[in-house]
């Protein structure tokens, strides 16, 4: 899967290739609320995510996209509501099969290679298996020449590529991505989109946030639009970009001001 796929429609055509049997899905949330000082920052009545092509979350800055990802990934505890994975509440086993790339990469005070190695190690992968995998992912993220460099001296884009490679390396069944290409140049963005698509094709469910409508068009199976912590709509990608059902999304896509 190394050819470069750029046409959104062609991508959509690959949907049937997805392993339909992701054992962790569907992901269902109900009454999910996260409040600070009584102010609800996320307030999702019901959410249901099925296997298939990437689910893309869009919405204005401060809408609550990152908070929603962190809630779903189990990093923060909701004020109320529940989340289930294939009917079961989150647990050790479920956490083990997920990975997340944060909006602001957190790199360990180690070399580039050691960052990937660490993720594999805590994932329970033996030393002998780790080494070739680290090499593979350094290669895929185009970081091979920087393998020995302290990770925290990488450029912004390199950091983002490293944290994506580190997340993909453990081959998770669920992968949360929070604006994974925000600091990437167009070429890297294409390469990373290819990696994301490959993972999706291999059955990894991608749940990602992006501000780039072009990227959403290229990757999304469905789009969730969030506004002020609430889900305005959840629509198949094709429909969304042609005729969004919510007013907020319509305003957002047409570049109007949202207040």
């Amino acid at each position: 899967m190394n050819q470069m796929i750029a046409e959104a429609d062609f991508v959509n055509a690959t949907a049937d290739k997805h392993a339909q049997g992701n054992p962790m899905l569907p992901l269902a949330a109900s009454g999910l609320r996260f409040a600070i000082n009584g102010r609800a920052l996320v307030d999702v009545e019901a959410l249901d995510i099925q296997p298939g092509m990437p689910t893309v979350i869009m919405g204005p800055n401060g809408a609550g996209k990152s908070l929603l990802l962190r809630l779903l990934h189990g990093l923060i505890v909701p004020s109320s509501g529940s989340i289930t994975w294939a009917g079961k509440p989150a647990g050790k086993n479920i956490q083990h099969n997920q990975a997340m790339v944060f909006q602001r990469p957190v790199l360990l005070r180690r070399s580039v290679a050691a960052n990937i190695d660490y993720a594999l190690k805590v994932h329970g992968i033996t030393r002998s298996e780790r080494q070739p995998r680290v090499e593979t992912w350094l290669e895929k993220a185009d970081l091979k020449p920087l393998a020995r460099q302290p990770a925290r001296t990488l450029s912004g884009g390199e950091q983002q590529r490293l944290s994506l490679a580190r997340a993909l390396a453990v081959e998770p069944q669920i992968l949360f991505l929070d604006e994974p290409t925000a600091s990437l140049d167009p070429v890297s963005t294409q390469a990373i989109e290819t990696l994301i698509r490959d993972a999706s094709d291999r059955g990894t469910k991608i749940i990602m946030v992006t501000h780039d409508p072009g990227q959403a068009k290229r990757l999304a199976g469905e789009v969730i639009f969030i506004h002020r912590g609430e889900i305005s709509e959840k629509t198949p990608a094709k429909t969304f970009f042609k005729s969004p059902s919510s007013e907020q999304a319509r305003a957002f896509l047409s570049g109007g001001l949202l207040i």
Binding site: R70, K92, H96, F102, L108, R110, V122, T153
Partner: protein, 235 residues
């Protein structure tokens, strides 16, 4: 007026004279304090780091307690350890009292809270950055302790040095459990206290300068280690 410079010169002369008694005392000081700090680090660092990351009811109280125990008075620690190790005490069978072992024991009690409290602070600061990423990796709070300790190792050096400073400088505990017995448990600080009580202030001060010199040497050695240790991968 006392002449500080002359005490300096006296200290140099003492060192250069190569007096075997002095050297034995210096070495015993180092042995006791370095052993104590080593053991205290093995206990205090994981403890402090666990306290930094763990979430449990009463955590706030535990943090306050550990911070407070930085103020354990050496004399009290000496007394407690004395009562434990004395022939009439529960650990009397070990026959540790008035041996260097007892002194190490007492200093471990004294230094562990210092290392634990300072480690907690350093690790808490690092964890505020790492925490979500590590949990996303599937590393539980307690399991993240080794990672945090390793990645904070250069900052933790200062905690270690604070512990060493306390150990090498204290006299109250070692004099009670060691007894300051000539040729057996006499260390630098107990010698200084003795010479002071004899009124040999110049000698006491000279020994004090030697002790500070030792502390500087140990700090410089660790500082060297830190900077020659490939700082690669740490930025």
């Amino acid at each position: 007026m006392h002449n500080f410079a002359s005490s300096f010169i006296y200290a140099a002369q003492l060192l250069l004279s190569g007096d075997p008694e002095l050297w034995a005392i210096v070495l015993l000081s180092l042995k006791v304090s370095l052993s104590a700090v080593g053991i205290a680090a093995l206990i205090g660092m994981p403890l402090g780091a666990a306290l930094a990351v763990a979430r449990f009811p009463g955590r706030g109280a535990a943090v306050i307690l550990v911070n407070s125990l930085m103020g354990l008075p050496p004399v009290v620690v000496g007394l407690l350890v004395y009562l434990l190790l004395s022939n009439a005490g529960p650990l009397g069978v070990l026959q540790l009292l008035y041996t260097p072992g007892a002194m190490i024991f007492a200093q471990v009690v004294l230094v562990t809270p210092i290392i634990a409290a300072l480690t907690r602070q350093v690790i808490e600061d690092l964890d505020s950055e790492y925490s979500e990423q590590l949990r996303s990796f599937g590393v539980s709070r307690l399991k993240s302790v080794p990672t945090l300790l390793w990645d904070a190792r250069y900052s933790l050096l200062t905690a270690l040095l604070a512990g060493f400073g306390r150990a090498v400088a204290e006299v109250g505990a070692v004099i009670i459990v060691g007894g300051n017995i000539n040729h057996v448990t006499r260390v630098m600080t107990t010698t200084i206290a003795l010479e002071t009580s004899k009124g040999n202030l110049s000698l006491a001060l000279a020994l004090g300068f030697i002790l500070i010199g030792i502390a500087i040497a140990v700090n410089a050695a660790l500082g060297m280690l830190k900077s020659t240790a490939a700082r690669s991968a740490y930025a």
